[in-house]
């Protein structure tokens, strides 16, 4: 049974990667602004990535348990290093050069956070019995400490500035926290606090981030500035109608109406050229992948694997839904990629690790 689940994960992952490559080929097809190099880059990345997934599936996922804190600390150091050595691009410091390759530590942080949270929650914590302070002990160990673990890197990411990823880290935290079995009392008071904090967060945001949110509420306030992308993206997807304009024939795509369409807005290319049929197919693949993962996680008989699996589900779901949502104009524009489809080395590597982890988890299950 789990063999079958693994198979489904394999198939959907490869299908998604192939669909992504096809879309990327179209996005960079005979184009002056997006070089075809982007496609070949991703093609190599995909081939290596698939091999890596295969390799990872044979590694015991418990190795990640051992390395969770190391991962986390190294990653935080990288995030700090960005402020010193980071490369400045597209108005933010997100990249760091690592063995001659540009790398985004904030992407990797998603996986690190999942591992460290899963490990933290799965470790049996020594219960300090203070009789009437017992409640407070649960508050500290089950809520406050993990919150700090997440908040510190999230703050660093937010400072880059990368609001999307910072919020995503909290998103992962919320889901994992929920899955960890924390009492609803703490869970909902946390969510409540989060809502209260929204205005505070607002005041910390950069002007362009505020613009994006305002524009999301009404794209027409600035149709040439921040609203431009939303409008053009909606036109692209909408004009695809039922069966699309055909591969390599999307006018919005081929004529460069969409900036960033090879990265964050790759879904608009799919929507425009393959229509509802193609877009639905891709969304269905993601849905199957996520549901299968949930089923697989459900069978895990050990808390670390279970929580890490939930974390991976949460990140896959959030990125897919938010990315497609923003292309459709349903969410504000935050810089989140579409897993395996958007062009981007760091993002791709992180998802390769996650799928590898899942497959390994699926395999180990049968051993137990």
């Amino acid at each position: 049974m789990t063999r079958n689940l693994n198979k489904i994960i394999w198939i959907t992952t490869i299908v998604i990667i192939v669909v992504g490559l096809a879309a990327l080929y179209s996005a960079s097809y005979q184009n002056s602004r997006i070089s075809q190099k982007v496609f070949f880059d991703q093609l190599i990345l995909a081939s290596v990535g698939i091999l890596a997934i295969f390799g990872l599936s044979y590694i015991d996922y418990r190795k990640f348990y051992d390395l969770a804190y190391v991962f986390y600390i190294v990653n935080v150091i990288f995030l700090l290093a960005i402020f010193i050595f980071g490369r400045y691009a597209l108005g933010a410091k997100r990249w760091i050069e690592f063995f001659g390759l540009n790398f985004q530590p904030s992407e990797m942080m998603k996986f690190s956070i999942i591992l460290v949270l899963a490990r933290y929650f799965s470790d049996t914590k020594p219960k300090i019995e203070f009789s009437r302070y017992g409640l407070r002990s649960e508050f500290f160990s089950d809520f406050l400490i993990p919150l700090v673990i997440v908040s510190f890197p999230a703050l660093l990411v937010f400072k880059q500035p990368d609001l999307g990823t910072a919020l995503l880290l909290f998103g992962i935290f919320v889901v994992v926290l929920y899955a960890s079995g924390i009492s609803y009392k703490y869970f909902f008071s946390f969510l409540g606090c989060g809502l209260v904090l929204v205005p505070v967060l607002w005041s910390f945001m950069k002007p362009y981030q505020k613009d994006r949110l305002l524009v999301f509420l009404n794209p027409n306030i600035d149709p040439l500035g921040a609203g431009y992308t939303i409008i053009q993206s909606k036109i692209a997807v909408g004009s695809g109608q039922m069966f699309g304009k055909g591969w390599l024939s999307g006018t919005q795509n081929q004529l460069n109406f969409l900036p960033e369409r090879h990265t964050d807005f790759i879904f608009s290319v799919i929507g425009e050229e393959w229509g509802l049929a193609g877009a639905f197919f891709l969304i269905a693949c993601f849905f199957i992948l996520i549901m299968t993962t949930l089923n697989l996680v459900d069978r895990a008989n050990e808390k670390f694997g279970y929580l890490a699996g939930i974390g991976i589900v949460s990140i896959l779901t959030l990125q897919t839904v938010i990315n497609i949502g923003m292309v459709l104009g349903l969410c504000p524009i935050v810089g989140l990629t579409l897993p395996f489809v958007s062009y981007g080395r760091s993002s791709f590597v992180v998802f390769v690790l996650m799928i590898g982890f899942l497959l390994s988890l699926g395999k180990r299950r049968t051993v137990f």
Partner: protein
């Protein structure tokens, strides 16, 4: 349990994505599809250059030259502040003004906004060199109308400007559109349909930066046709100089063909002021100037003809056989009608027909007027084209006025009296004529009754339009014309003639003077109209000075005109 809730949340999220997708692609799909089509196809107009205007010797009177315009495309601007401070310093315009201008002229994000037209070459180069630093900044190369002679001939040529609402409404069906430049007054207006180029355009696929990606279709632009005028730039220049600052008009016609060789109206204007956007103040001054420099006095100015009116009256009285050539009237300096006395310039004594014309004797023509009666006078005035348009090929020609009983009663509030007949007979009272009518009438007389519609254009493009010249013969015996011409010749050649000033050795001139009284204590209008029947180029001409004093001044101007033309060996 918690896993189930997570599952439900995920299903909910994905369902909302599907709903969003369906809404966008199916429900609003067609709308977005149309949008995407219009997004990418753009029409880039290509101006069809306006035809040139040339004089009869091929001298260019109006041409189209290259000009540079600063244009900003709103959607491509990256840093508005930088761009505008740069533009401000380069164009020497205050930043606030510039921004205001930009805001006023912005229509849509992708529509280029013209910031300034017709830059100097230096500024255009500065902007062009810095273009790469400021996305959205463009220097467009366009075509500008240029009138090398400036004020000389402005009234014949007219000017060009952007089409206005009225014209657009009228000419929409003829393919004019909002952005079109069209002619105003002069031949620019009259022959606009020939002169204007047909704008072509290319249909291109553009990307988000408006960059052309692919050519979809093309309609070639057509250059307008060149217009060749009968005007001789040299004569035009001479005539302009003769009038210089004096108010008035000069018309010179080719006696053989009816072509207008020169037509000057003074004061004049510089048509270049209408082309250059920076000269708006100058334009406003021109339009509100009380001396009406924009009016072509030669065709739109209506003035009493004074004694020149005696020429058609003389022909009328001969044709009606009311007098014979040797019939004389006695002039003692005035004519008594009832209790009123109608004056003559001198006491001419016994005046024959020829003498009466040469001396411009009022008394003789009072008698003629009474013999003819107002109805016949009107009839003959019309016969010679007074009070009706000459149909010259220029817009805004005025008709003038030949009074009749009804019109007179309406204006004066009383019936026509014999005294009015007397005034009428010497071209006073309500009679109004335009200088072109007078020139045309004198030419008709000079040609012995053959009237040729005066015209400015002699050919357009490759087509010779000479065949289109309209001519008719006035049904009056040739002999009578000769009789009148004898008088007109005597006016110049006799020592006592009113136009003796024009007795220039080597040029035989015939003509008639006119001094028209005006109301309001202003100076009289001065007229001279005549013809040179024996010169190399046979010409007729009319010199008119508005409030010029007396016909003496008109004769003096005519003398200058003829002598200068002789000097340049034109006649």
């Amino acid at each position: 349990m918690r896993l189930k809730i997570i599952k439900l949340v995920i299903i909910g999220l994905f369902l909302s994505l599907i709903f969003g997708l369906v809404h966008l692609q199916i429900i609003k799909g067609q709308e977005f599809y149309d949008l995407s089509r219009y997004n990418r196809i753009r029409i880039v107009p290509i101006d069809g250059n306006r035809g040139r205007i040339l004089d009869r010797n091929g001298v260019v009177l109006a041409d189209t030259r290259i000009s540079f315009d600063v244009v900003v495309i709103p959607q491509e601007i990256k840093n508005k502040e930088d761009l505008f401070s740069f533009l401000g310093t380069t164009l020497e315009i205050e930043n606030d003004k510039l921004l205001k201008l930009f805001r006023e002229r912005s229509a849509a994000p992708f529509v280029p906004v013209v910031i300034q037209e017709d830059l100097s070459r230096e500024k255009a180069i500065i902007l062009e060199e810095n273009k790469f630093r400021f996305p959205g900044l463009l220097v467009n190369v366009g075509a500008k109308r240029e009138y090398p002679f400036g004020k000389v001939g402005a009234h014949i040529l007219g000017y060009v400007s952007r089409i206005n609402q009225d014209k657009l409404k009228k000419f929409k069906d003829y393919g004019y559109s909002v952005q079109d430049v069209t002619g105003y007054s002069g031949v620019e207006e009259y022959y606009d349909n020939f002169l204007r180029g047909r704008d072509g355009g290319v249909q291109v696929e553009v990307n988000n930066r408006g960059k052309q990606m692919r050519l979809l279709g093309m309609k070639e632009s057509l250059k307008g046709q060149d217009l060749i005028l009968g005007i001789d730039a040299r004569i035009q220049k001479i005539a302009s100089d003769v009038l210089s600052e004096k108010k008035g008009a000069i018309v010179v016609l080719d006696l053989n063909t009816g072509e207008v060789l020169a037509m000057v109206s003074s004061p004049s204007f510089d048509p270049n002021a209408f082309v250059d956007s920076a000269k708006s103040k100058e334009r406003a001054e021109l339009i509100f100037d009380s001396d009406a420099p924009m009016m072509n006095r030669a065709i739109s100015g209506q003035y009493p003809p004074g004694s020149i009116f005696k020429i058609p009256m003389a022909l009328a009285v001969l044709d009606q056989k009311k007098v014979s050539l040797d019939k004389t009237f006695f002039c003692n300096g005035s004519y008594r009608l009832g209790r009123r006395s109608f004056r003559c310039s001198h006491s001419h004594g016994m005046q024959s027909f020829t003498e009466a014309i040469a001396h411009s004797c009022n008394v003789y023509f009072y008698n003629v007027g009474l013999l003819l009666g107002p109805e016949a006078m009107r009839e003959y005035a019309f016969l010679f084209g007074l009070g009706i348009p000459t149909n010259i090929d220029l817009p805004y020609e005025r008709v003038g006025l030949v009074p009749d009983a009804t019109q007179f009663f309406k204006r004066a509030g009383r019936s026509w009296s014999r005294g009015d007949t007397l005034n009428f007979s010497i071209g006073q009272g309500d009679v109004l004529t335009t200088p072109i009518q007078i020139a045309n009438m004198i030419s008709t007389v000079a040609r012995g009754g053959r009237e040729i519609t005066p015209h400015i254009m002699i050919s357009i493009g490759d087509v010779d339009k000479k065949e289109l010249i309209l001519a008719r013969n006035i049904d009056i015996s040739e002999k009578y014309f000769e009789d009148v011409k004898v008088g007109m010749k005597a006016a110049v050649e006799e020592y006592s003639g009113t136009a003796h000033l024009l007795a220039i050795p080597g040029i035989s001139v015939s003509g008639k003077t006119g001094t028209a009284q005006t109301s309001g204590g202003k100076k009289h209008h001065a007229w001279f109209s005549g013809f040179c029947p024996e010169t190399k180029r046979r010409i007729s001409f009319c010199v008119f000075l508005e409030h010029g004093g007396s016909s003496y001044y008109a004769c003096r101007a005519a003398r200058k005109l003829l002598i200068a033309m002789r000097k340049q060996k034109i006649i």
